[in-house]
């Protein structure tokens, strides 16, 4: 039994190590390309082991250090506020949906799910947020539209609540005199840390990586988020290549930045999220231990 377990552990670890390599290698390539000397890049192309290293791309980006740190602070505020609020909204909506006592449960489920299928499109959404709620060029425009809560996570959490938290646990809490809300806070949430951490992580990533809201709702540079700043350059290149402008007076912008700079921008965009990740992992593990004593 013992040796069998040991072999099993080895097999698992070897497979996972291989997979991890597949995931990590391209990222290493991304990083090395960002520190490859520009000339070298043109001459020998991409390489995992650049012959000549240069941090030019980063110094180039850091010229705008003030701009970047400002954008970073916007991104952090938006991510934190958005994730926390979004998580609360999602959990509050998902929990009742998971309870069989909820009146018209199927209707509400459908009500939520329907939003995943149909949407009015960009123009009406824009009108609602700018005309009715006057969010244009406010930080709310980066937080609220589209990202705050989405049906996908609600359905996911609902399913988790429904399957992982036994009805008897909830019933017994109620017998002890706790109200619906009290049960939810004291019993259900602590048992659901894994899914809360998962959805929280996804929300964080979504907020972190979002540039679309910025592109649509923000024209004031004081509110540019990091991704907005970085993506703008990439998007401009793509636009130049594919629009009608390519045909006529095409000198519209300064020429596209070097490949290395684009790579450096990607690295700058990813690193902070990596730093934040262990924070979420802590809760995965916590969920494990809490889950073990429940029931």
């Amino acid at each position: 039994m013992k040796t069998k377990n040991l072999i099993w552990q080895w097999v698992v670890n070897i497979i996972l190590t291989l997979i991890a390599c597949c995931c990590i290698l391209p990222f290493v390539l991304l990083f090395t390309s960002s520190i490859t000397d520009e000339q070298e890049m043109y001459r020998h192309g991409y390489s995992l082991f650049p012959e000549k290293i240069s941090f030019d791309a980063y110094t180039y980006l850091l010229q705008d250090a003030g701009k970047i740190t400002h954008a970073l602070s916007i991104t952090i505020i938006v991510t934190v506020v958005g994730t926390v609020t979004g998580l609360i909204l999602t959990a509050l909506l998902a929990y009742p949906l998971s309870r069989s006592q909820l009146p018209w449960r199927n209707f509400w489920s459908f009500f939520v799910f329907f939003t995943m299928l149909f949407h009015g499109g960009l123009v009406p959404t824009y009108l609602v947020y700018t005309q009715v709620f006057d969010m244009k060029n406010t930080i709310w425009a980066l937080i609220v539209p589209g990202l705050l809560m989405n049906a996908f996570y609600v359905m996911l959490m609902r399913t988790f609540f429904a399957t992982s938290i036994p009805e008897p646990v909830i019933e017994s809490a109620k017998i002890d005199g706790a109200g619906e809300f009290g049960t939810f806070i004291k019993i259900v949430l602590p048992l659901s840390l894994p899914i809360l951490a998962t959805v929280g992580l996804f929300q964080t990533i979504n907020y972190w990586n979002d540039w679309f809201n910025g592109m649509i709702y923000i024209t004031d540079s004081k509110l540019f988020s990091l991704q907005n700043l970085l993506n703008r350059i990439l998007l401009d290149i793509q636009y130049l290549a594919s629009s009608n402008f390519g045909n006529s007076q095409a000198d519209l912008a300064a020429s596209a930045p070097m490949e290395t700079v684009r790579m450096a921008m990607a690295v700058i965009g990813v690193v902070p999220i990596l730093v934040a990740y262990p924070f979420f992992q802590k809760y995965f593990v916590k969920g494990l231990t809490v889950g073990a004593v429940k029931g």
Binding site: C23, L92, H119, G120, G121, E259
Partner: protein, 293 residues
Amino acid sequence: MLLLMMLPGIIYLVINNYLPMFGVVIAFKDFNYTKGIFGSDWIGFKNFEYLFKTSDAFVITRNTILYNCVFIILNLIIAVGLAILLNEVKKRFLSRFYQSVILLPYLISMVIVGYLVFAVFSMDNGLLNKTILPMLGISEIPWYSEAKYWPYILTIVHIWKSAGYLCVIYLAAIIGIDKEYYEAATIDGAGKWMQIKRITLPLLMPVVTVMTLMQIGRIFYSDFGLFYQVPLNSGALQSTTNVIDTYVYRALMNLGDIGMSSAAGLYQSFVGFLLVFISNYVVKKINRDNALF
């Protein structure tokens, strides 16, 4: 009380999703800025015509559906498999390491993924053509003009990018499974394989079903970045890389027509809606609890 808890979320959905739905009328209108949304003239289904009036209509629909089917199935198998494996890792440090690493690809934007793929497949200085193929004695392959390779490349890229993400969801569900089941099974002498088959998989079913249903709802949509940025918009690859989203993008890039883009969205939603309805019905027949609604 339960309804009260739901209220904030419901209000948000009303604002964010239901309120803008009045905008679907745009799809049936010849939108004019002076006249506004409601004042513009009705033109029936004219905005939809471009989606069908092309010799590519079949190709893009086929591509969209085939890719999505393959993605749904492979994602399911690989992500669930990964999650189970991850759950088996005893060393906490290693487990955390793997978790972080498999999520890495999800964090990189598709534009950059496109560059990375180019680094591998480029004719002039790609890793494959310059290093690996010569070692194997194979002559250069013009990857970006040979459409036949791209279904594989795109599938691999997609799995690479999203398996980690889905795996985290399944992992959360597995972690949520009561440990007592496993303890009992171990006492009964059930092996690892048996435990996975009899405990983990059945208890994962609800999450798997929901995830799959939700993906079916989006079967007419595709990841624009994957199909546009990764093949670098190479025309020669369009027979295997053109999907509805890229078709619409290319069609409207220079037209900027709001009516026509709404029409495309409506069409995609409508088909997804039908498919979900049917599959949800089937699921309901099999197991009421797993259905979405």
